[in-house]
Amino acid sequence: MSDKIEGVKKLFTSKSARVETNKGDAYYEQLFKKCHERIESLKTNQPINNRLDIGDVLETHGIERRDFLKWASAVTGMLMLPSSFTPLVADAALLMNRAPVIWLELSDCAGNSEALLRSDGPKIDEIVLDVISLEFHETLQATAGHQAEKQLEDAMEHFKDKYLLFVEGAIPMANNGSFGTIGASGETMHDHLVRVSKHAAAIVAVGSCATFGGVPAASPNPTGAVGVMDVIKGKPLINIPACPANPANMVGVIIHYILTGQVPELDSLLRPKFAFGYRIHDNCERRAHFDAGEFVEEWGDEGAKNNFCLYKVGCKGPMTFNNCSIIRYNEGVNWPVGVGRGCIGCSEPDFWDKYAYERPMADANIKAPTGGVEKTVDEFGLGLLTAAGIGIGIHAAASMAAGKKEEVGE
């Protein structure tokens, strides 16, 4: 209860979800100068561990500089910066290996690491992520056990207060966190996270589990899973939800950080507004069918063949904030609605219980306000009306039988 009240307070004081796409020339000129200086000074730094040169890597993958610049201008647009920033963004991408990153994996399916690697035909987003200076990533690195712990200690010591901490996965809190332990010493995920976040410059929670608890936190949440923001307070924290988080948004956040030295503007759920300021529905390619009332009624019907709107088979685009309807996944290859499968709201809190069902909310078995009973809101409503009807009926019958009408004086 008290944290809900806290939440209310926060909503009143925090900046709302409003996105300002144009902040005026004066603002951008000053920002450009600042970013330019920062990039120049970063150029004089040596790359940290990862000595892969992104230019070479791109070349090995057969990506031309022209394509790279096209990509940079797309990222500039995504970050809502004027096109004059494109060369700076390209430079920032080339300097990716100046930002030390520690990556923790907690209670999850490793889907975000998977998205980040995508070794089969990587696109520029993934390649850029390849050359970040990943100092520690338990799932990917060769070391294990005590050796891995040593490496983590070293990285934390070496880049104290400088490293970006990426967290993937929820934190199990039930039974003192004993549902998930890490490493040879059996440290709980909770303690692990608290320890590593202590000297992070900023924390980036990637994926729905790390941001809001995600699938591990779905009802009845046996492990008491929560997101990073419920555990770590008083640190710059960026949430990049979605299942998995879009590598384009991870790159966007890192580039923004390299470029400006700051976290991007966030909404009340700590999501970068450049990516989560818009609803899927408002940029969806099937939106015209929504407005026309043309819906897929069941999988594979005539409507499905005609790419009708997926609302009636459960698309939650109208209640979901994310940019996948704009940038899609895998550098514009496709996205869920594009393949004919409605949005399941994977970037929203509690999505597994409240969004991920193949029918409109009104028809779904979500928790009724009465508590544990699973009912649709309409069933609940009809129950309510039936109860009201029965009450009225009894009263009416009783009134007929025994009611006292006023005497009409005549």
Binding site: D3, K4, G7, V8, L11, F12, S16, A17, R18, V19, T21, F212, G213, A217, V226, G227, L269, R279, D282, A288, A292, G293, E294, F295, E297, M319, F321, E348, P349, D350, D353, K354, Y355, P360, M361, A362, D363, K367, P369, T370, V377, D378, F380, G381, L382, L384, A387, A388, G391, I392, H395, A396, A398, S399, A402, G403, K404, E406, V408, G409
Partner: protein
């Protein structure tokens, strides 16, 4: 007029107009809202796209009704305190007299009018509180509805200026955590779906409210024999002269 009865004015023209505007708007909001929630009829698939705009029209009507509700609610809220006719807030204050009247009206209802120990010339405390519940639910529909609506203006722009989405955010963002509480969600983090669920559930409470309201007014008319139902038509009812 029957002998021995006097006519008392209970509703001004504006109040009656407002009553029917709200009544018909409510039916419209329910019909279109249910369509938005679950499109229950289909547009003809063979029609060309320009010939159908079914969801968009439903949403348009829903939002137009919302604006009518907005205006009417602001006026109602004003009237609670400043009406020159009857100031409803006087009947809501829980003082001894109002509580007694409130209880007496309920007793009258459950004893099937065998006991009637209150003055039915004026708006009674029970009915006023009952209407307050309605107005609170209507206000909640407005606030949650506008919260659902404002996210379509994501860029912070609107055809009537930037102040509009800005104001809507300031005025309605708090409905997100409050909806989360109201629907009894187990999740620590509230989301826009909570607002939508609450918007939908509150509709059912409003329909239940309407059922009782209509029943009760008819019941009063039949059993009190004071022509209460006429209040919303002609503005007056009739009570026995002392």
């Amino acid at each position: 007029m029957k002998a021995g009865y006097k006519q008392v004015k209970r509703m001004t023209t504006y109040m009656r107009l407002n009553h029917w505007v709200v009544a018909f708007s409510m039916i419209g909001a329910i019909v279109t809202g249910l369509y938005i929630g679950h499109p229950y009829y289909q547009s003809f698939i063979a029609d060309p796209a320009v010939g159908k705009y079914v969801m968009a029209w439903n949403r348009w009507v829903h939002f137009m009704i919302a604006i009518i509700f907005d205006v009417s609610s602001i006026v109602i809220a004003y009237m609670y305190f400043f009406s020159r006719f009857e100031k409803p807030y006087k009947k809501i204050i829980p003082n001894a007299q109002n509580i007694k009247e409130f209880v007496e009206v309920i007793i009258n209802l459950v004893t099937l009018n065998r006991r009637k120990n209150f003055d039915s010339t004026h708006a009674d405390s029970f009915n006023t509180v009952f209407f307050l519940v309605f107005h609170l639910m209507l206000a909640w529909m407005l606030l949650t509805g506008l919260q659902l609506y404002v996210h379509g203006l994501a860029s912070g722009l609107s055809s009537i200026g930037n102040w509009w989405p800005w104001m809507l955010h300031v005025a309605t963002d708090w409905t997100i955590p409050v909806s989360n509480m109201l629907i009894g969600s187990a999740s620590p983090t509230a989301c826009i779906m909570d607002v939508r669920i609450s918007h939908h559930i509150t509709m059912w409470w409003i329909i239940a409210w309407i059922m009782f309201h209509v029943y009760y007014q008819v019941w009063r008319t039949i059993f009190w024999k004071e022509g209460d139902i006429g209040i919303v038509v002609s503005g007056s009812k009739f009570v026995k002269e002392d």
